[in-house]
Assembly symmetry: C2
Homo-oligomer: 468 residues x 2
């Protein structure tokens, strides 16, 4: 079956489908090489597998019509947001039609009293927050890239704020989804909680377009905090930084962000973002709340840091300084790339129970050194989640092989510690091979059964998550 | 199909299955009328439909063997925790075998650093919290009844703390589930977040035993707050209490509980719990945090209450007074029953966007008065969720008919306000008829497809959530 799934869709079927799409959508269908390759772009070393055509959808009906036409001819459909995913999610291994949702970028409603909004999938998180600012509201999730919210839901994204505000699974109230048969499913009403049957909202969040295409989202919002303060706090070792993080969480300090950079990453950021941080493992923090509560949180964190030899922290409540700090954190990836020019950066992530985090990071650093690789580490340590950015010379076959082995060892290390091979990047094509070790065959078989039930023709972003 | 599903399983098949179960489990299989009826007990006016036999399971393997034996003969299996669900979840409309999990009540591990624990499904929330107290940890969810945690997960329960700590969907990290084929599925590793494929954890939470039977849970825990303070705050009207609640949430005050009782419910509680509260719409509140933060939260809430003509609040931080207060809140149901002796109390709940809550509660009160019914109201108003406890004279056919009409109107009112027919009680048998109006046919068809995929024989708690 796995080999069948990898087979390209019959050329004649694709031709018929594209012909019908052209008749229906005119110049909203693009088949140029450049646009097709752009829509198969994977931001990693996973090879580009472009779709056969791209439809620029402007409404749910466009998505429905595209899916219906493709379904009639057995042609795959692949949803596309901003193309910032990291595991080959938008690739078209069997060919097919990419549905670009960037024009579906309207805010349909903001319900300030209910702290929610209804949006189309193509709007990005930054654009949404621009829209919300005047009303004193914000959407907290921040995966770094200015991703589309449809894509963030589809990949169950999270990022630096997740320790306080949760992941996409916690912040989507309801979805409108075009199913494989072209019908539209509403997963829930707008009430803040419900026990009305199977949680199809959460089934779709993280399903990466393999069960349906998200065309509308109702998201939870939050009031912009009265006070925000940010800090950097140096530690003597990764272990000390992790121990301080654990105690901070255990104590119930409602930290909004608590991010680790290892010494190498701090060095890269100093160079790229013109900072002058001490080149040692460092926590970046942010606290949200009232003036008094933010001050209290900062004080309590300071005490904890000191217990583990950390500090002194440098604090700021000035918006421009906070922005500069977090911009540096978000530019960590680019800082890495610049560290070793000419190389390809490959970002991967794992997540382990926080009690195992220090050990997992330390072992990974040892591996990096022993394998003669360059790979700075950043982590959403409040969640036990960390990233390595491997900087790989793509002309060096031996280095590529070592990198591949490193990735394998990293995933297995996380699994052995009761963790996951992917904390927030999703499965896509890149991490399919680890799922059996992580979850076991009965779980994979249940996933396949759900996939077959909702997509019997296997046309919804095939070749991702589970092979049929 | 719906009529077939309602048909009782063939007697000969049941006999063969029970024979095999007796051979396997001996006196752990009980077929006495009393025990069977107890396991079909529904706590409401839904008629008792007892199973044909009850198996007292002591381990996952017992559940697997029971499911395998029943599957071989096409006999339904119905999981049973404490039988405190409210919509006929444990009934056996087609007969079959109830699997009682109360003996599976061990705490398998507590990971204090990770703030999680691994438990068996039969342990109740109070027993778990007893176990955790020495370590300074607690599991916050509190649906009132001392329900089993397996049952709470299966029905996606929540309760008074959900406004701060979320529902069961937010507090289950991973599940071990016996599937219809007898295999055991692990839904996730123990990491705090993951994007490793379909969110089967959330698919099982709220599936009411219709997709599998939970035999192990990994739950998130929280540190017992340094300070807790509770209050009661009277308001002139339900509307004023709701408006104060909305502003409290919007302002970002991290209230742990915010509960509404209408005047009639306060009267019932005064009588039952020997309180002397003013008989007017009243909010019960609780704040968790540090000493300073709890004091600040209380002060800010006080200011908001005053804006809406509420207060003065009566505050307490003394554990025994807090317990007395919340015991009264939890005894609201019994207080209702005593209000009109000889009647049957029927608890139902709906949930609407919080902006519609005041309107929904007020219209419901008007309905109660106009229909000449007695039905105090309590609500988890921070979530837009409220309950009515209808007190029905079961000898008065006309009153029963009015009550039925009232329930129908209440559900439809919530749906018209973009709410749900069931905020936290689940669907069971009682609310199946509203799901199509709430979610639409494509969504129901998706639920049926998932159900058929994971339970092709329709033996897992059939006749609940969706009819096949």
């Amino acid at each position: 079956m796995a080999t069948m799934a990898a087979k390209r869709t019959e050329a004649a079927a694709v031709e018929r489908a594209v012909g019908e799409l052209l008749a229906r959508f005119g110049n909203k269908v693009v088949t140029s090489q450049a646009v097709r390759e752009q829509h198969g772009h994977t931001t990693t070393w996973i090879p580009n597998q472009p779709p056969d055509a791209v439809v620029f959808a402007a409404a749910t009906e466009d998505v429905q019509d595209t899916v219906r036409i493709c379904a009639r001819h057995g042609v795959p459909v692949i949803p596309f947001g901003t193309g910032t995913s990291l595991e080959g999610h938008v690739n078209a291994p069997q060919g097919g039609v990419s549905i670009d949702t960037r024009e579906m970028n309207r805010v349909l409603a903001v319900h300030a009293e209910d702290l929610d909004c209804v949006i189309e999938p193509g709007i990005t998180r930054k654009a949404l927050n621009e829209h919300l600012r005047d009303q004193g509201l914000f959407f907290p999730l921040d995966p770094g890239a200015d991703a589309s919210l449809g894509g963030m839901a589809a990949t169950r994204a999270s990022g630096t704020n997740a320790v306080r505000y949760g992941t996409m699974k916690d912040n989507v109230l309801s979805l409108k989804v075009v199913l494989a048969n072209g019908e539209v499913m509403k997963t829930a009403q707008r009430a803040k909680k419900s026990s009305a049957g199977y949680d199809l909202t959460r089934l779709i969040v993280g399903s990466e377009g393999t069960l349906g295409i998200i065309t509308e989202l109702t998201l939870k919002l939050h009031g912009i905090p009265e006070a925000i303060s940010s800090a950097v706090c140096p530690f003597p070792t990764v272990d000390a930084a992790c121990r301080a993080t654990i105690l901070t969480i255990q104590t119930g300090i409602p930290v909004a962000r608590i991010e680790l950079m290892d010494a190498l990453q701090v060095k890269a950021c100093n160079a790229y973002s013109k900072l002058s941080l001490k080149e040692t493992p460092t926590l970046f923090l942010e606290f949200h709340g009232s003036q008094a509560s933010v001050a209290e949180q900062a004080e309590r964190f300071g005490e904890i840091a000191q217990e583990f030899g950390g500090g002194p922290s440098e604090w700021t409540t000035k918006p421009e300084e906070r922005t500069r700090l977090w911009q540096a954190r978000h530019d960590a990836y680019f800082a890495c790339v610049q560290m070793r020019p000419g190389t390809r950066a490959l970002a991967t992530d794992v997540c382990v129970p926080i009690s195992r985090l220090a050990e997992c990071v330390s072992e990974t650093q040892r591996d990096i050194a022993e394998m003669n690789l360059v790979a700075p580490i950043v982590g959403h340590v409040g969640d036990g989640n960390f990233h390595t950015s491997l900087l790989i010379d793509m002309d060096d076959r031996a280095e590529i092989e070592r990198a591949e082995e490193f990735l394998e060892r990293l995933a297995k290390r996380a699994l052995a510690m009761d963790g996951t091979c992917t904390g927030e990047h999703g499965v896509g094509q890149g991490k399919m091979k680890y799922l059996k070790d992580e979850l076991g065959e009965p779980t994979l078989e249940a996933m396949r059964a759900v996939k077959r039930a909702l997509d019997p023709q296997n046309i919804m972003n095939p070749g991702k998550i589970v092979a049929l």
